[in-house]
């Protein structure tokens, strides 16, 4: 068995995402999948799972190899909470279930990747605070968080990861840039390594702002 690169996409479907934003997210996911499918390295290793969160947590796509993924249409209710904490608890459980660990005789999976996209702030703040150490223990290679639109709170996301990307607008152009950036993180392993720099994410596109 070759190593798999498990990727968890965790997407906000709270009421405020309704309308143009969720349409743009669906389009962005299609583009991400298209780009992964035309990348022979990704086809050989990347697996995707999508979990949505509003007042409910739904695993709308269980872990599937990119070539076999049938993307579900992601919808959101008219209103609802933003249970990001509960969603991340679910992700922790998933990684325990999915990630194959190395043994002395068998190679396990790569460290997984987590991508979070939200346009608000967690309403289950206690659960959110409690899940952070658990999430760190899950040993993700990278956690990328996207704070979309004016109501998103990048500072909450900064508690999870250094890779927080802020989108000023929640339109198709913004999301497509974000997903393009995500897809580039998958190709970095197959690209040339610089002689001086360490292994890191590719530079984000100019239109996004990185929160410092």
């Amino acid at each position: 068995m070759s190593r798999r690169l498990l990727t968890y996409l965790c997407i906000d479907t709270s009421g405020s995402m309704n309308g143009e934003p969720i349409v743009a997210v669906n389009a962005g996911l299609q583009a991400l999948l298209g780009s992964l499918r035309s990348n022979p390295y990704a086809l050989d290793s990347v697996h995707l799972s999508i979990t949505t969160f509003d007042s409910e947590i739904k695993e709308v796509l269980p872990m599937t190899a990119v070539a076999d993924v049938m993307l579900p249409e992601i919808t959101c209710p008219k209103s609802g909470a933003t249970l990001l904490g509960a969603a991340l608890e679910h992700i922790c459980e998933q990684t325990k279930r999915d990630v194959r660990k190395s043994t002395s005789t068998e190679k396990g999976d790569w460290k997984p990747i987590l991508v979070i996209l939200t346009d608000g702030k967690p309403t289950d703040t206690l659960a959110y605070t409690e899940v952070i150490p658990q999430l760190k223990a899950c040993n993700f290679a990278t956690i990328v968080a996207c704070a979309a639109g004016p109501r998103a709170d990048p500072n909450q996301l900064k508690r999870l990861t250094d890779h927080v990307v802020s989108l000023d607008t929640m339109d198709a152009a913004g999301f497509s840039k974000f997903f393009q950036w995500v897809s580039e993180t998958f190709s970095k392993d197959s690209q040339s390594r610089g002689a001086t720099s360490s292994v890191e994410l590719p530079p984000p596109p100019a239109e996004l702002n990185i929160v410092l």
């Binding site: 499918r37 022979p40 050989d44 002395s104 190679k107 790569w110 460290k111 970095k188 690209q191």
Partner: protein, 499 residues
């Protein structure tokens, strides 16, 4: 609204590009020219004098040194060499010819190109991964084993010529050579990172999987540390050997079953490709064998090194694989040079036999020196008589020495000038006239004959009969056929295999 930018390039030409990023590499953004004839690749880092000087030399002196010499016309097809340097908004760019159309997928993936890869670049990884070959590519894209061998030959030739000029590529890998297994062509791209030893230092250490063990092992040392090892011709030789192995056997020579670090998969890979690198087919140390029992059906026989050992590539390549991955893996000086690969590949083309199984995906296999040869890929035995021509050449009058070169006979096989005389080699310097065949083989009522088309000194030695142009001679056990009486002229000694 995208605008068109017009610039004056370093060679005085006018360069135009559409100001829209069409593709991104590790360090560059790529823009297209309005007519699609070339691209302009801009480095994302700000222009600096050292890079400018290096790029000017690559597009100027080194380019002319290789492409404007004898054989340059041929070599133009092996490289996508940048032609000029431009500067725009304080960034440096190189003007690069557009890739030839054979390097873009024509059919792409199955089911009406479900993956949407039609018109995308043919990156080597597609063709060297059994799962992608079996399930993700349209079968018309795969080519056959002879074309794969030719792809390797083109790569070895391109690297050899570059090394002759004192340059090293420093980043050979799947992404930097486009290959076309349908026609057997290959082309080195991204040549703006070329390294001149002692003058221009490498800016990249290579692409994971193709970086030499000594470079991986010391990659964490500061660049100034004298123990740090950076890319060179010796590391190119490692990368070339890995490319050839993967294109012929669809598996990686170092990516085996041994676990080096249970807790950290990145560290595990680093040890596998670096300090602890071990050939998956090491003759004594079996600890890194690929676990064939875990392989999926479509990964076989490729992942089963007992069933399909590297020795199926024939004696000439086997020797070089041994030197690359056993003797030279941790001893760079012992690695075979690109020219050695080129010679071995040319000779291996002559060892090929067509497989008689019409559904064999590889369609060709190198002769295994058995009396009853069998296709190692699909297991189909050869049918009929199989003449094997052993090449000898004259070293002194009447004294012929074996050249360690055999030609297998099959319908459609030809003899060329480089078979006639050992001083002629089939490389970029060969004239068009010398590239034409001089004889061919034909089977008639179960017997094989060699037909002379252009050899004026051909002679059957046993019967002392000249074989004129247009004449033919029977190939039977022990037959001796002189192709040319000149110095270096070849003598064929026939052995019969098959039934």
């Amino acid at each position: 609204m995208t605008k068109i930018v017009t610039l004056k390039a370093s060679d005085g030409s006018t360069v135009q590009f559409i100001d829209e990023i069409k593709a991104q590499g590790g360090v560059k953004d790529v823009m297209f020219s309005p007519d699609g004839g070339y691209v302009v690749a801009f480095f994302r880092e700000k222009a600096d004098p050292a890079t400018r000087e290096r790029l000017l030399e690559i597009t100027g002196r080194y380019r002319e040194g290789i492409l404007n010499q004898k054989g340059g016309e041929y070599l133009r097809n092996l490289y996508c060499w940048p032609t000029a340097v431009v500067e725009h908004e304080n960034r440096l760019g190189v003007v690069v010819p557009f890739y030839r159309s054979c390097f873009f997928f024509e059919h792409g993936s199955p089911n009406n190109d479900m993956l949407g890869i039609r018109k995308k670049e043919k990156v080597g990884k597609w063709f060297a991964t059994p799962g992608l070959r079996a399930r993700r590519l349209d079968q018309r894209e795969l080519g056959d084993w002879m074309r794969h061998l030719k792809v390797c030959l083109m790569l070895a030739r391109a690297v050899r010529r570059m090394h002759m000029a004192g340059l090293s590529h420093s980043d050979l890998g799947y992404n930097n050579c486009l290959i076309d297994p349908v026609t057997g062509q290959a082309c080195l791209i991204d040549l703006d990172g070329l390294v001149v030893p002692g003058r221009h230092h490498p800016t990249v250490i290579g692409t994971p999987g193709f970086i030499a063990p000594e470079v991986v092992k010391t990659a964490r040392l500061p660049k100034e540390d004298p123990k740090r090892i950076l890319p060179s011709q010796a590391t190119d030789r490692h990368a070339l050997a890995v490319l050839i192995y993967t294109y012929l056997l669809y598996r990686h020579p170092l990516d085996g079953g041994k676990v080096h670090d249970v807790n950290d998969s990145l560290r595990d890979d680093e040890l596998m490709m670096g300090a602890n690198a071990l050939f998956v087919e090491h003759p004594q140390d079996r600890s890194n064998r690929i676990k064939a029992g875990n392989a999926k059906a479509f990964e076989l026989p490729w992942k089963d090194t007992d069933r399909l050992p590297y020795t199926v590539t024939g004696p000439y390549l086997s020797k070089l694989f041994q030197e690359s991955f056993v003797d030279g893996l941790h001893h760079p000086a012992k690695r075979p040079a690109a020219g050695d690969w080129e010679t071995a590949l040319v000779k291996t083309v002559d060892l090929l036999q067509p497989c008689t199984n019409p559904s064999c995906e590889q369609k060709w296999y190198p002769f295994d020196n058995k009396c009853q040869p069998t296709c190692p890929f699909c297991g189909t035995p050869h049918r009929g008589k199989l003449p094997v021509l052993n090449l000898y050449s004259s070293h002194a009058k009447g004294k012929f020495m074996p050249d360690g070169h055999r030609v297998m006979v099959y319908s459609g096989q030809s003899l060329f000038r480089w078979h006639e005389n050992r001083f002629i080699s089939p490389d970029e310097k060969l004239s068009a006239d010398d590239a034409r065949r001089v004889g061919y083989f034909v089977e008639h009522q179960g017997n094989w004959y060699l037909v002379n088309e252009r050899l004026n000194g051909m002679r059957d030695v046993r019967s002392s009969q000249d074989i004129p142009v247009g004449g033919k001679t029977l190939l039977d056990e022990g037959a001796q056929i002189l192709l040319s009486p000149e110095h270096g002229g070849r003598l064929l000694v026939v052995q019969m295999a098959g039934s």
